[in-house]
């Protein structure tokens, strides 16, 4: 158990330095190709864009940060302070991990339309776990004698390739709509279908009762060979990569966006990752369903007969829980994302904006609101800052920048700048890096959104 906990802790700690948060700063980097990721109606400022491999990571651990996790003992050793972590936890806690690796994408303006095609690899991880699960694992169930506690976690972890094509165009003066159609090829998935695990510890002799309605679907992640000391549950992470681009776990998804300009104001809305993947390849369902009662061993007669040499409670418990494995395809939805923003061109170089971002995982919605300011410092350099707030966190300050050296553009963005310098105080992080090759800018130094005659812009 403690090794398991150590692995979990290390996993959590190692993800924090990646620095990330919701991907909202990039949304306001107007004219930058990567902002198109947040709204397919957002166009770059060049006619031809080739995006080279980039990286995006988002990690969020609710309710505690690194400082809560580690402490120094009297000898100066670094310890993982799980008791303190438990104190910080809320009733329900979420760990969120998202890694996007856009390998390559190409955007080309052809006549009135801006077309795009590309590929990216995605890893989504989501764990919603009750505090009591962590308490039972680390501190035991004795503290819950006489209680019924729900310890079922909700897990979604999936890896997939996305091949996409998109188009954007102006449908009315100042109004651009865009869409992106994605063909998805899944490589691995682990997701709970049902998560109820009600554990009761009786006051009499601590009889345990597990009222279970727990179903986990897995494709290429779990090898389950029963609960015993020689086998058990093996996690196989070898499929969480994009070596294998095509699989029979396919799905479809789309992104939609709209951008409308009214004078100096620009309003935008988008819905991303509306779709699902059906998992078929070695898909299995592991079910633990029913009411499992353990009242103790009925062994006294055997003891009197001297036929019991070793009393193994663990062996008995292992046989109590009957996990049923079946092969069945299943479908998981992608976590959908929604952006709503408004921006005003305050001066020739300054833009001020506001945003609401909603992310849906399972039935839960996470909302972030933020205010941004972006400035075009030089012809080759722009920078921005964003101040945002998420329900589970305090206010954060983010920053972003884009530097262009000849046809090469480098972008970097984070939504939690303070975390970069005080990472141990943070419980969330995100970071995006991108590298673009740009050709054919229409009007150097002028934001295409400010071009009064957009037709002229697209003809250039």
């Amino acid at each position: 158990m403690q090794k398991f906990l150590l692995h979990i802790c290390c996993l959590m700690l190692l993800t924090l330095p990646l620095q990330a948060q919701q991907d909202i700063g990039i949304h306001f980097m107007q004219g930058v190709w990567q902002s198109n990721i947040t709204n397919p109606a957002s166009m770059p400022s060049h006619k031809f864009v080739l995006a080279l491999p980039g990286f995006y990571n988002q990690t969020r651990i609710d309710n505690f940060n690194i400082n809560d996790v580690i402490r120094k003992d009297d000898q100066g050793n670094t310890l993982i302070d799980l008791d303190n972590v438990l104190d910080k936890m809320d009733v329900e806690n979420i760990i969120r991990q998202q890694v996007d690796i856009p390998t390559v994408s190409l955007g080309v303006k052809i006549n009135q339309l801006f077309l795009q095609i590309g590929h990216s690899f995605h890893v989504n991880g989501y764990l919603d776990y009750p505090k009591k699960l962590a308490q039972v694992a680390w501190q035991g169930n004795a503290q819950f004698i006489g209680e019924t506690i729900d310890i079922g976690p909700d897990v979604l972890a999936q890896a997939y390739n996305s091949f996409f094509v998109g188009v954007a165009g102006e449908i009315a003066p100042g109004v651009v709509i865009g869409g992106r159609f994605k063909v998805l090829s899944g490589t691995a998935d682990l997701s709970t279908q049902r998560r109820s695990l009600q554990l009761t510890t009786d006051t009499e002799i601590y009889q345990t009762q597990l009222d279970a309605d727990f179903v986990v679907n897995s494709t290429g992640v779990i090898n389950f060979e029963g609960f015993n000391r020689n086998t058990g549950v093996d996690f196989n992470d070898s499929n969480i990569n994009f070596d294998r681009l095509i699989s029979s776990n396919y799905g479809l998804a789309f992104d939609l966006g709209v951008q409308a300009r009214f004078g100096d104001w620009t309003f935008a809305a988008s819905a991303l990752d509306i779709g699902s993947i059906t998992w078929r390849e070695d898909a299995k369902k592991l079910s633990l369903e029913g009411n499992f009662e353990f009242q103790g061993l009925d062994i006294l007669k055997d003891v009197l007969l001297d036929s019991v040499s070793t009393i193994s409670l663990v062996d008995t418990l292992e046989t109590q829980y009957n996990v049923v494995e079946t092969s069945a395809s299943y479908t998981t939805d992608l976590p959908a994302k929604y952006y709503f923003s408004a921006t005003i061109q305050a001066t020739d170089t300054w833009r001020i904006g506001g945003l609401a971002y909603v992310e849906q995982y399972r039935e839960k919605f996470q909302t972030t609101v933020g205010l941004s300011a972006n400035v075009q410092l030089f012809d080759f350099l722009s920078a921005g800052a964003i101040y945002s707030f998420t329900e589970s966190e305090s206010f954060r300050l983010g920053a972003n920048t884009a530097i262009r050296l000849g046809p090469v553009q480098l972008i970097a963005a984070t939504d939690n700048l303070i975390t970069a310098f005080q990472v141990q105080e943070s419980n969330s992080a995100n970071f995006r890096l991108g590298l673009n090759l740009l050709l054919g800018k229409v009007n150097r130094g002028i934001d295409p959104d400010k071009i009064e005659n957009q037709d002229d812009f697209f003809r250039n």
Binding site: M1, I70, I80, D298, I311, A383, F421
Partner: protein, 514 residues
Amino acid sequence: MQLKNQLLGLTLSLLTIGCVDFNSLGDAKLPDYQAEFAVPLVNSRLTIADILDVNQTIGSLEVGADNTLQLIYRGDVLKRQSNEILEQFQSSFPPFIPVFSKDLRLPLNLLNGLELDQLIFKAGGFTYYLENENDQGLQIDFEFSSLIHEDGTPLQFSLNLDAYTGTGAKPFATNQSEPIDLTAYRLVPEDNEIVLKYSAQSSEGEALNASNFVIGLNDLDFSYIEGYLGQLEIPGGRDTVNIDFFENYTNGEIYFDEPQVSFFIDNSFGVPTRALVKEFFVETLSGAQLPVMSPLIDAGVDFPFPTLDQIGQIAKGEVLVNNSNSNIDTLLSANPIRVIYDVDALINPEADSDIAGFVTDSSFFDVQMEVRLPLLGRAEGFRATDTLSFDLGNTGNINSAEFKIITENELGVDVGLQVYFLDDQKNPIDSLFLENSAIIKGATVDDSGVPIASESVTTFVDFDQSRVEKVEDAPFMVLEARFSTETNAQQSVRIQNTQGVTIRIGAILGLSND
């Protein structure tokens, strides 16, 4: 411009983020793991039948009419088949009978004064041999009046012998190579005499004699004998009924209120038979041999037997030796470990020849003894122990345990439990309970000894790390149970088959890193 420069600096800073030193995290260790898991360990209900049954290798358990459990121990006292007796009769028959008279009445002087009324052959052969020493030929007509075929005719034969010439061998006749089969015959003596006749005549009608005339009854086997069979003593030999109830006994006393010894007799011999008890005593745990005293024993136990119109039936009888006709209650209350006896059987004990009996080839008698100990009584400090091999296995990271023991006693007997953990030299190194307290209080009983309601007791036992380590290495454990009826004072308690003891044990196990 200054603002721009500041923003440029900020931008460059952005490009260098993420360089925080996390090396120390790689060395981070989990602190001392101190979890407490509450688990149920044992949840068993043992009926008294379970407890006794697992320890009984010789006896058995039965439920009495009032559901009172009874310990039963049985042993063979005497068992005989008729062939043992019939063989003696067969061997007492003379192999040859000389026929020295034409009208012969031969008294049967068989075994033990046997006065035969009827004998049915199951097998056997009749042979004869006779010669003619006359100078005339003979016509012989023979009739064995006592040997009657199943069709009602006596055994008869006729033959002719040539005249003797005076030289050489005398003419003779015999059937020795082809005996007359007696399977369909029965022997019916007249006044315990067998009767046979013959006539010998010359061709002119002159009455003559045969010479050297003998008959033989060979290879006899009987299926039935009727008559006065004489007095015959059949030895039984010494035997023992072991009582293993006290196998694990250590000390203390237990008193059975209504012990009894029964003799069960099955008899299909149609003759009066009496069991002669030569030895009958109880050996106690202390080695004392206490004689069973009873008028029944002194007089001997007469078997019931089937009458002549009950041939083939089994007469059953039971002789009960209890506290009303013996001192058995005293003996069996004294921690008995075996009952020792030596019983013979005497056929026709009164030697009354007026009593006609019978024996068939399937007759038998079988006498069994049963010691019955109804679980109704009292106990004082009765203690039993049993040493068991013990392997707790690897306790892993368990460093402490608090056991919660809930006992529910439906018996009217106080039960004190203790478990001793022994090292490989069988020296005690720890015990489950620090005090020898009786933790299972007996239920209060009514006037008939039946418990009114069960008693429940909860006990907590703490094992700290040092005790866990000691017990973990113990290769043996001794289970000790102490029984008393102290709760019910001098009232005898009744143990019924439905009564039992429920023991539930849970534990809060403290786990740590190592």
